[in-house]
């Protein structure tokens, strides 16, 4: 018995089936081999560091353009939530880019599950943090959701760079599971977008935090899965 599948005579018959001889190397492939040049193999940890660093610099630039919030929020609250957003970004990027030891393909299933979990958690957390330590949308003269589209747009724009860089790094690495890995990249980018929004936007009502900030993770993950997955195959 192997892996729960019962073994009997059929097993041996299947194992004993003769293999067909493969065709020789095709002309197109032979022509490509004639022009073969060395290439640099993928180095996942170095790629992670590069994509992470460039994305953070880009995120800082976006924050610089959008301006930092000046609502006098406690430093502990600012740093604490920023650390949560950052850990979402770093861990999802790691799952999407770095394979387990000895494997070529990254952990696309874990990245996909991570994207789903982060999407739900950041939205739920946004609603749960309703009104803590700052003004709501109404106090700033904004409607709840229409006022949130600016934040959503800014967050998704921030997510663009990690997704594009990650897709470039993973090009050809994921013949299977590319949609899940792309969702992981998108969620990582969305978390970076959430971090920028957290440091930019003072609004703290649940609808705004949950949908316009937390929702950036889900939207970025869905967009990346839909638009970037073919690039990874």
């Amino acid at each position: 018995m192997k892996d729960g599948i019962p073994a009997d005579g059929i097993d041996q018959t299947l194992i004993d089936l003769p293999l067909p001889p493969p065709p020789p190397l095709g002309d197109e492939l032979a022509a490509e081999l004639a022009r073969l040049r060395p290439v640099r193999a993928r180095r996942p940890l170095r790629d992670l560091a590069r994509v992470g660093a460039v994305s953070l610099v880009y995120g800082a630039a976006v924050l610089g353009l959008a301006t930092m919030r000046h609502d006098g929020a406690p430093v502990g609250l600012l740093v604490g939530y920023a650390a949560i957003w950052f850990s979402g970004f770093a861990s999802l990027l790691w799952l999407a880019l770095v394979p387990r030891r000895g494997a070529v393909m990254p952990r696309w299933r874990a990245a996909g599950i991570g994207a789903l979990a982060a999407s739900v958690l950041f939205v739920v957390a946004g609603f749960a943090l309703d009104g803590q330590g700052g003004p709501g949308s109404a106090e700033l003269g904004l409607q709840r959701l229409p006022g949130g589209h600016m934040c959503m747009g800014l967050g998704v724009a921030t997510a663009l760079v990690p997704v594009v860089l990650g897709a470039l790094v993973l090009r050809g690495a994921l013949p299977v599971g590319s949609r899940w890995a792309a969702a992981g990249l998108g969620a990582a980018g969305g978390s970076l977008g959430g971090l920028v929004l957290h440091l930019h936007c003072p609004i703290v009502d649940g609808w705004h935090l949950g949908i316009a900030h937390g929702g950036v993770v889900a939207v970025s993950a869905a967009l990346a899965a839909a638009l970037a997955s073919r690039r990874l195959q």
Partner: protein, 187 residues
């Protein structure tokens, strides 16, 4: 095979065309067997094998030094089969058994008609097993081919097919049960 494939892949990435040819010789027979059984058409499998290695060649910079390239290359073959099967629906559409079986039998053993070649221990049972394998749905057929014919573990087969080990186990089990039923064994 894994250590040898890893070594060859590393030399190939470094620009050694001979290493690629050796890698082809090492992996092509098994990959071809997998593709023939999935496509059920030798001409299509020929193209799929070439396409698979062309994709490996073009994506070689995605390789990670020290990693086992075999599951990745199998996954490329799996993806290539899926893409081509969608494009060339006729490759996976069954025709009548009268037309299909003799041709498939010749294709799967890989021998031209009338030629002497390697045979399974019981040719009658082997032919029946192949015919039964043909009737399985693609996902179950793939599960049986990978786990039984290619000797992959459930986890490896799941990685290649882009599914969970649980789903692969179910597919392999159902495929195996269907095979036994088709061959007249106990369910």
């Amino acid at each position: 095979m894994t250590a040898e494939a890893t070594q060859l892949m590393e030399r190939y990435v470094d620009g050694d065309a001979g290493a690629f040819r050796e890698l082809y010789q090492l992996l092509a027979p098994r990959l071809y067997g997998y593709l023939v059984r999935m496509a059920r058409d030798r001409a299509v499998a020929d193209d799929l094998l070439q396409l698979t290695f062309l994709k490996v060649h073009r994506a070689r910079s995605a390789y990670v030094r020290g990693a086992d390239p075999v599951p990745w290359i199998y996954a490329i073959a799996h993806r290539t089969f899926l893409d081509e099967a969608r494009r060339l629906q006729r490759a996976v559409v069954s025709v009548s058994k009268e037309e299909e079986l003799p041709e498939v039998r010749a294709q799967i053993t890989g021998e031209p008609e009338g030629a002497d070649g390697p045979q399974a221990a019981d040719p009658e049972l082997a032919r029946a097993a192949l015919a039964a394998l043909e009737t399985l749905p693609p996902q179950q057929r793939e599960a049986v081919v990978l786990t039984k014919l290619d000797g992959k573990s459930i986890a490896e087969a799941a990685e290649i097919a882009g599914t969970t080990p649980g789903a692969m186990k179910v597919r392999a089990h159902r495929g195996y049960v269907a095979l036994r039923k088709a061959l007249g064994g106990p369910e």
